[in-house]
Symmetry: C2
Subunit: 595 residues, 2 copies
Amino acid sequence: MILDKVTSPADLKKIPADKLPELAQEIRTALINKTSSFGGHLGSNLGVVELTIALHYVFDSPKDKIVFDVSHQCYVHKILTGRKAAYLDEKLYRSVTGYTNPKESIHDQFNVGHTSTSISLACGLAKGRNICNRKEKIIAVIGDAALDGGEAFEALNSAVEICGGLIVVVNDNDMSIPENHGALCAHLAELRKNEGKCANNFFKVLGFDYYFVKDGHNIGDLIETFNKVKDITCPVVVHCVTKKGKGYSFAENNPEKWHWAHPFDIGTGEFHKSTSVPKENYGSIVGQYLMQKIKNDPTVVAMTASVPAYIGFNVQRRKEAVSQYVDVGIAEANGVTMAAAIAKSGGKPVFVTGSSFYQRAYDQIEQEMCINRCAATMLVAFSGINGHDSDAHAGLYDIALLGNIPGLIYLAPSNKQEYLAMLDWSIEQNESPVAIRIPWNGVYYTDKPVPQEYSKTKYMVRKSGAQVAILGLGSFYQLAEQVAELINKELHIEPTLIDPMFITGVDKQLLEDLKHDHKLIVTLEDGIVSGGFGARISQFYGIDDMKVINCGFHTEVPTQFTVEEMMEKNGLMPEQILQRVKDVLSVDEASEEKK
Amino acid sequence: MILDKVTSPADLKKIPADKLPELAQEIRTALINKTSSFGGHLGSNLGVVELTIALHYVFDSPKDKIVFDVSHQCYVHKILTGRKAAYLDEKLYRSVTGYTNPKESIHDQFNVGHTSTSISLACGLAKGRNICNRKEKIIAVIGDAALDGGEAFEALNSAVEICGGLIVVVNDNDMSIPENHGALCAHLAELRKNEGKCANNFFKVLGFDYYFVKDGHNIGDLIETFNKVKDITCPVVVHCVTKKGKGYSFAENNPEKWHWAHPFDIGTGEFHKSTSVPKENYGSIVGQYLMQKIKNDPTVVAMTASVPAYIGFNVQRRKEAVSQYVDVGIAEANGVTMAAAIAKSGGKPVFVTGSSFYQRAYDQIEQEMCINRCAATMLVAFSGINGHDSDAHAGLYDIALLGNIPGLIYLAPSNKQEYLAMLDWSIEQNESPVAIRIPWNGVYYTDKPVPQEYSKTKYMVRKSGAQVAILGLGSFYQLAEQVAELINKELHIEPTLIDPMFITGVDKQLLEDLKHDHKLIVTLEDGIVSGGFGARISQFYGIDDMKVINCGFHTEVPTQFTVEEMMEKNGLMPEQILQRVKDVLSVDEASEEKK
């Protein structure tokens, strides 16, 4: 194998150019092999095999710095920069993360995971280079869909004035996670059609030099172009046309399915059943529900920032919904603001994106949505410790982030019946912006009645007890059940078990009532403790004798983790919580005896 | 006066077109008169007198909906929509806010105050119109500088696909708050030079129809153009060239000074001394300090998102700093990300924007800055209750927003010596991202030594006492002093007085020590109580006997307010806090006696 000889970019440069296509083939095989048993972002990586080889052939990493946008397409880069074993040797599959990671290699500039930041980062690196009087090249690699995010534009707009030499490689595969949306995507299509020659050119408008590579899988062309732009001292865009999934026919033909591949059979292209999404999941449940709503009411609009799967909007549903489905591109701020205005204008918008992506729309939620009391619905996917296993996508911040915004009702259902009741109430009400945290720990059910109205913060007591009350929020309600059972068994106390359902506000009446026959409150939340749900309960009892234990996450989130690791490290295993309860109760008893 | 006859847009339509310039003159006089004694956004409003008249002459508000970006330029709109008395009658000056406000008038669509949202909002209104099967026109009015904000681009990118008919009026006065920056501003200059005729056209790239009005003060031309575009069914941009400050020579000649005018003498154009910024303020202090740093160290970079005044970077300092001053435009996400990368690349960036504008960069702070531990400095201006008197700019959220981000050190100095020591330490250290909350309650001093190092959360005890400890954070430290004095006087207790200095983290050792001889902690913070600094203190003492009172803001922020009103409503007057302390202590004594 040629790949045997490549353990660094320096080695790569020794390979004769005419052997590089063979190397590309070897890398492609490695990518398909690893993801077939391990899962991963297959489509985007197959699309940048040649591009990445050419970059490392021409530029001199780590002196020259390559910043990958989102960096889900960095597998080839990792293979070429000393980490090929993680793609060739099954035992080492876990030795690298799925994103760039400076702790892994000096060839990785940043730990990233969100879209549209690479050009800003590259501008900053270039500015830093200039003031420190160095000369390295700075390259940002960004997909066409990531250009929809406003920050990419902000950086393109800044570059000419601030950065000097800067190379932006646009990896144009004409795809987002689902199909592409927006005017820029149409403009790129025009550029592709005319092989880069349009009078009107987005990048030139913003002061960039512009180069076009019509076949982004032709290594020779790529190398030639990169050599041309390598030494220029102004910002330049190299627009490369690539194919998502290139070289694996199943992925080429259905790039949405193969954006993130579950482990699969290479021959048939079928995802292994055991590892793919379970049949009963909130995507499909809500997809069905929303389609019904859409058919019955022309003012209901399902909206997303390129993640329709979270509400089960597969290709067929998107087609059926026609103009009642809106994908704003990976542009969360625009999505939230537009949803606010649709609500104001008489529509019933339901917007969905992931927990960590709402971070990009805090301002719009606080200002456009809440100050203006626009009665839109926001669904928060990917939330809690089960949401994602990397720090750059962790779903642990949304409770603290959104839960303290005045005027927002933020709900945390703990089962299917609550989720659907909340969603239906939210869509039909006209008073308040509402966010609903989709439980990401699986689909649970209740046979008890659930409220049909959620305008006032009112917790639900699922089991009345004494001494200890456990408030298990949303996806941690099931944990609360386990803890209650354990306390009962070990301490012979029947704790009160509460499903708070509301992240925002506090149920003052209930908390007051608990004072009568409880001395300890345990709050459980699937998010950071600092600034979270439990903090409000602690504040409420600030001058009372009630003891309060807030359970949640308090350690820093590692780059990669498993759910169990994190639960244990944060003292969230039922036995660990039991121990904390025991400690408080025994101290308490001791001090009672003393008196 | 012609204006006498105009109490609604319907009245306006009855004025013969040739009389409109006279009306414009009357409005201009009203604007200058009111702001000369009341203060306000004079420059931008003088610039849109004719534009606003023409809009209301052609369109049919409130059926047709006009969305003003930021809406600081809505004074003329208010005058024409039934609120002229608020600009003509001194007694009624306070009867309107400085921004659009649906509670004031059905002609105002949204309560806004942040930049770059109008096109998203207009897209949403247009989408709502379409699904509700109505036919009204939707118009967004946006300044050239606001186009730098990524959300404006996101919305322009979405419009063609999602909105149908939509009119975006670009009010191009070639100014931001200071001078304009970025490639788009150069492109607009090109369009102005060529009277709208460039082969390359940013708006056409994004699928918009494009019209150019070379004299945005010619009402006839404006009316003619608006009539042309009024019924078209696709998105269209009307690019109008206007002059900020038009018609008042002082404002025309120095548009930065007159962006927001303090009360002034109309004849001389001098701001009245008593009402303008005091000589000793943190702008000038930090400006001087930073210029010195810049001269001594080529890697220090002062950065802003178009608000250089917060660090005292007047025209002269900006010029002197040359490439060590960076203005990214009103594009906070880009600013924060670029600062992160500059730090990574060996530079020492100091970025500044307002408290409520950091809301637009939470994601970038959490991800690019903190996960990557980029040792940049962020200064948070406009913070606390003194920061701004409107809900859409309130500086009350940043403690809860930034204070819970893992990996960030967020500092709250309470006096000049602390502020400068923190800033200097932050610039020179290389370990951690740091934010510093500029105290907005005036410049205070201490003659005690202040720490020179802030890597670990360590509160400062300024006065040791017993029973009650008061933690007065940042700009509320002076309030804590008052409360301490009052407690001493009234209750004959000498409270411990603490200057926490750190918003993030807790000083566990100190809080533990307080348990020995204190039974009540009072936290004071100049921000919302929910998710804030005090919440962490309450959490810390969750299972202890210590009582904790968290003082801060808990009511919704009104559209307009005075500091006193808000302090009183939130129980933050020293006497009110004293009363809360008394209540706890007496309850406590009563229960002690009972035992």
